[in-house]
Symmetry: C2
């Protein structure tokens, strides 16, 4: 697979440099790191930090901005960033009110972010964390104990970020983020693999007429590999396991995200969304806000994921709050 | 190539239905058409209408919203919409102050939009038009006499849309749109083809180590097919012919768009942007606003385009003005 890169070993650094070059008034790179931080700091605001392996753009650097993240740590491709980089992000994001870490549930991320939290606490910074595990597909996957964190993470960023902007305390921001984690569920599927730069080999192989339901955003195994279905059938297969969770009840208001994994045209995502919305109506769920686009990708993987978030008044208001992050 | 669709003949209708399902409070579908219009009309505002063949999403339906388009006409895949549909869009967008048509320079679009304009004039609606021909790659291509219109079109939408929102006259909006056309230039390149739904065959074939500079957004021939280069070299090859136009001079302020064609990861677009910004600085051009993302795609084609717009105070202010369109 052909890539517009220079050298595989430089992709992450050059990417974050390219982000800063695009938004030089809004964000900057911490020296000697791949940590993107907001240029304007609000004193006394809770800091929101996230990050993880690269290859999921715009996650996470694209979500740094007013109303969302204060700092994002970019690890190597599909590889958790080390605790030293996360620590730098925490220090940069802290302005006296403490920092919330938003961690996707992969063993490497959890370990490194928790280690960084301990180091930061030792330096006198109060740190709280949420671990996002919205993917209903599988338990205990290649890189995970428990469930994986995927596109639902972006709702955590948005809601925690919006609440922090109001001057809420770390405890309040943490509680809202935890509520999102409790009320968000996702399910993904893939049509074709991606290639990690420098690796050269596809992350997995699917037949010409195959798809995989429940595949992870690093190509981790899903639920079943099966014959390619129509968009409407895929929509049903994505929604069903989410609804079986018991989180969403008739009459609930929900936010919907139909997320592309990188190479799937927006046209197809809209066609999937069409059926999702029809099914939600049938189930008596009220769609209050919908997002269709590439929010949590896997390089040039083709496929999509569906995320549902149960809303109450607080979450709805925070979701609607203004946000300057370029990726949202 | 696998697609998340139902039946190839339904993709455009189901896509626009999926868009309305995503943003039901903001947009609606005109009955028996594939025309997306704003739900809230501002009386006495100049209407802005665009459109063209589908497959370029979020162009154009994703640009319908306050501060941008009033109506977008979605033709079949890579096929101009007929004059009857364009006429319906014009009638819906008119609220007494006339309508500006933003047309990409493809023979089918020009013919059908001009025919619709005549029909609308016959019904008493004042219509002006701009034809966008920003692609510097080639003259007289497969579907075009003169130069093709590509991602620069989005700057025309944004600026005309923002000016119309201020209550400016059709003459003023037309003049600003023409100014953008005069001052915007683009150049694209492709790494891999797309497949039009129902066609089944790739739009062109490139070798494993080949790229094509100057390729059009429907796979029209470019300048040269050559060995795949690094991202930095590609950035130079995109920028050089744009600068040779003589439109951009040392000290000018410019808006930059690094646009993905569909399947190219955002990571790669940022890496290309990094070099573009470096080169712009070397040339003494001031980057005032940058956009990196998928703005004018070609289904799942891999590759990118670069667009530069020379800014003056008016264009800068209009570019910065608020905009609710989901695709921008």
């Amino acid at each position: 697979m052909k890539k517009l890169i220079n050298h595989p070993s430089d992709v992450v650094l050059e990417m974050v440099q390219g982000i800063v070059a695009a938004y030089p008034n809004e964000v900057e790179l911490l020296p000697d790191t791949t940590v993107i931080v907001r240029k304007q700091k609000t004193n006394g605001k809770v800091g929101i930090v996230s990050g993880g392996g690269s290859g999921h753009e715009p996650a996470h650097a694209g979500y740094v901005g007013k109303g969302m993240l204060d700092a994002a740590v970019a690890g190597e491709a599909f590889t958790s960033p080390g605790p030293d980089q996360v620590l730098e992000a925490i220090k940069a994001a802290d302005s006296g009110a403490g920092v919330l870490l938003v961690i996707k549930n992969y063993s490497g991320d959890v370990m490194n972010f928790e280690m960084a939290a301990e180091l930061a606490e030792a330096e006198g910074i109060t740190v709280e964390k949420v671990i996002v595990n919205d993917d209903v597909a599988v338990e205990d996957s290649t890189y995970t104990t428990g469930r994986r964190g995927i596109a639902g993470t972006i709702f955590v960023h948005k809601i925690a970020g919006a609440l922090a902007e109001t001057g809420a305390s770390l405890q309040e921001v943490h509680a809202a983020a935890e509520k999102v984690v409790q009320q968000v569920r996702s399910m993904g599927m893939a049509l074709s693999p991606c290639i990690v730069p420098g690796n050269g080999k596809p992350s997995f192989v699917l037949g010409d007429n195959e798809m995989e339901m429940g595949m992870g955003i690093h190509g981790e195994p899903g639920l079943e590999r099966e014959e390619l279905k129509s968009a409407d059938e895929v929509a049903e297969k994505l929604l069903q396991p989410i609804l079986e969770e018991g989180v969403f009840k008739t009459g609930d208001h929900v936010a919907v995200m139909v997320n592309g994994l990188g190479a799937t045209p927006l046209m197809e995502l809209y066609i999937v969304n069409r059926k999702i919305q029809e099914l939600l109506k049938e189930k008596g769920l009220h769609m209050t806000k919908t997002y269709v686009g590439n929010y949590m990708t896997a390089f040039e993987m083709a496929g999509c994921s569906l995320t549902l978030l149960r809303l109450d008044d607080q979450l709805y208001e925070l979701l609607q709050a203004p946000c300057d992050a370029p990726g949202f």
